[in-house]
């Protein structure tokens, strides 16, 4: 199964993904994908280095699928992490 590597950024806690250049980016679409376990292990290895460098925390592999509507995380939890809360919040929640 196709996977990407995700974590939370240390300084602000935001959800980030490892891209092909080894940077941590906010969009799941921009993440590097790993086809097999061995490949993914390499990604997680890079993530551990980023943990040691105090860039991110709690890295893990996220199963994804490519769909017509773009890349989607397989589990609901990971999808919510990728797209944000499924509800309107803050200003958007105010009914006018």
């Amino acid at each position: 199964m196709l996977q990407v590597v995700s974590a939370n950024r240390l300084v602000d806690g935001r959800v980030v993904y490892l891209d092909a250049q080894g940077n941590w980016v906010e969009k799941i679409e921009a993440a590097a994908t790993f086809a097999g376990e061995a490949e993914c292990a390499q990604g997680l290895e890079k993530a551990r280095a980023a943990v040691a460098a105090n860039l991110v925390i709690d890295p893990f592999a996220v199963a994804v699928i490519e769909t017509e509507n773009g890349r989607q995380a397989v589990s609901l939890r990971d999808a919510i992490r990728a797209k944000g809360p499924t509800i309107h919040y803050g200003r958007a929640a105010r009914r006018t």
């Binding site: 240390l10 300084v11 602000d12 959800v15 589990s75 609901l76 919040y89 200003r91």
Partner: protein, 552 residues
């Protein structure tokens, strides 16, 4: 309300400085996440799905307008313009950056607020009846005792590393509005046969994975012994609580495993041993703290206000608001107004920065500088003159805060669930929103009458689902959300854990299932004065089960 003395102010300022240094060391890499995590948790900083979350203590749910404005400012400056009130009478910000937290704590300290002991295995923020000090049925205001316990328990060296977290609640009226029997320790202010005021003591309540209603282990505790007795309970727990298993570490498991009688005996033995040696609270100290919570100087008002009566007679919406959201104040001519944070389809407990500012203005103008937070995720203006009710109502309408639904089917408690929480197994907020929209602000909702729906997004039960008249627990079954329903729970003095109806419901089915339960209630009730809970207690699960699973 309580004001920090020099000691309190220095203590909180020191903690902020300490945490600022810890955050700097973490960001520099001098501390690893393993080293830092317990430090940030001790300051109320969690990591959730999308960001850090900061949990701010609102001691016994009392807030001043100044504090509310500060929360609004923090929401705007450091977060996304809103905050979320929780079932612990706390406020959570869902999006603060770690790097900003020391500044946020500094801002909070400037209005005598902090996040100490909002996480970790210590004595958490102590909660109380939201109508403390104003309710007509009250024996005594519980907040001075909450404050005494707060001062005693803050960074108490013996109780900073308990087997697990420890929650205390105090109620001051016969009708328990603080859900004390769902807490590790609950104190219920009572009057004994001699007319003295003290506490009935409950221990071992709790929700979560294994819910238990607390056991009463003492009928009457003199006020001066509050600390000594609490200490005795905590000593027994600290020594014997199950540190070997996180899921069995709460005091409720200890009470369940050993039995309430055995725990009572141990607590009494420890209490007898230390009583006198340990702190006995002098009456002067109770009076000194109590003075902070004295009723404000409320100018005399006529018991019936002309403007109020006229508006009530001529404006049906206002009359509904008064019936549902306003209760009697102990001083004639005044009322207690509950501000609904549950407008139809809204996120329960969420409040925008603009609303916070406006509520602060209202409290300043009309409620003698006081605001309360309820554990049911609403806010309260505790001292409103009847004559001012029309003006307060009009302002609340403009702010979308005047939904007349307190205690009704749409006044739903909901935890953040999978939309925010990293422990969640399912979403809870969208379910609350859909139920709210299904019933709406309608005659039907009013016809249904009092009905408490509580929703949690996992077995940790932050949404108190076990004690909802209808409880909804979000689980994950084979990768999809599934909702288990319980009926007959109650959080008041007749506390009960709800019964599971049967197999769970999908997210598409769950709102229909709630509606079937409500329809069944309407069919079986003897009349409008038999509320949902009474009807359920009379007829039992069978008719509800039949309606829910008729095709099975």
């Amino acid at each position: 309300m309580y004001r920090y003395d020099e000691f309190d102010a220095a203590f909180v300022a020191e903690r902020v400085a300490q945490f600022r240094d810890q955050v700097a060391r973490r960001l520099r890499g001098d501390l690893t996440e393993e080293q830092f995590r317990p430090l940030r948790l001790q300051n109320g900083v969690y990591l959730q799905l999308h960001a850090y979350m900061l949990r701010i203590a609102v001691p016994y749910g009392t807030l001043s307008p100044r504090q509310m404005r500060k929360l609004a400012h923090i929401a705007r400056r450091y977060d996304k313009g809103y905050g979320h009130f929780t079932t612990r009478q706390n406020l959570q910000f869902h999006w603060p950056a770690l790097a900003d937290v020391p500044d946020i704590l500094n801002e909070l300290a400037s209005v005598e607020m902090h996040c100490i002991q909002t996480s970790g295995n210590n004595i958490r923020n102590i909660t109380a009846d939201q109508f403390a000090g104003v309710a007509a049925d009250e024996i005594e205001d519980p907040r001075p005792y909450c404050e005494i316990l707060r001062q005693w328990s803050s960074l108490h060296p013996e109780f900073s590393f308990l087997p697990r977290k420890f929650k205390i609640a105090i109620a001051g009226a016969p009708h328990d509005r603080a859900a004390i029997q769902t807490h590790d320790v609950g104190f219920h202010i009572v009057r004994n046969a001699r007319g003295e005021v003290g506490f009935a003591c409950y221990v071992g309540g709790g929700l979560g994975r294994t819910p238990f209603v607390a056991h009463k282990i003492r009928d009457f505790l003199p006020k001066s012994d509050l600390i000594a007795y609490t200490e005795a309970i905590l000593r027994v727990y600290n020594l014997e609580g199950r540190r070997d298993n996180k899921f069995k570490a709460r005091i409720k498991i200890l009470v369940h495993e050993k039995g309430a009688d055995a725990i009572r005996a141990e607590v009494e033995e420890e209490f007898a041993r230390t009583r006198g040696a340990t702190v006995s609270i002098p009456k002067e100290e109770i009076d000194r703290i109590g003075a902070y919570f004295a009723l404000p100087d409320l100018p005399a008002q006529p018991a019936r206000a002309g403007a109020f009566e006229t508006r009530r007679a001529g404006d049906a919406a206002f009359a509904r608001f008064v019936d549902q959201n306003v209760i009697a104040h102990k001083v004639p001519g005044y009322a207690i107004v509950t501000i609904s944070l549950k407008s139809i389809g809204a996120v329960p407990g969420d409040v925008s920065a603009e609303q916070m500012d406006a509520i602060a203005d209202l409290a300043e103008t009309y409620s003698h500088d006081e605001i309360r937070v309820t554990h049911e995720q609403n806010l309260v203006l505790p001292h409103v003159a009847l004559a001012d009710l029309p003006a307060v109502y009009d302002r609340l309408v403009a702010l979308d805060l005047a939904t007349a639904n307190i205690g009704l089917v749409t006044d739903i408690i909901s935890c953040p669930g999978l939309d925010y929480c990293s422990l969640a197994t399912a979403r809870s907020i969208p379910v609350a929103q859909r139920i709210s929209e299904r019933f709406g602000d309608t005659d039907r909702a009013r016809e249904i009458g009092e009905l408490k729906i509580n929703i949690s997004g996992c077995i940790n039960a932050c949404g108190h689902h076990h004690v909802g008249h209808i409880g909804i627990l979000g689980l994950e079954k084979k990768g999809v959300e599934s909702y288990q329903i319980t009926l007959g729970g109650a959080a008041d003095e007749n506390c009960a854990i709800g019964d599971v109806t049967g197999p769970g419901f999908s997210t598409d089915q769950v709102v229909d299932a709630v509606e079937k339960i409500v329809d069944t209630y309407l069919k079986v009730r003897t009349g409008k004065d038999e509320d949902f809970l009474s009807a359920y207690r009379r007829v039992g699960m069978a008719p509800f089960k039949e309606a829910l699973y008729e095709r099975a």
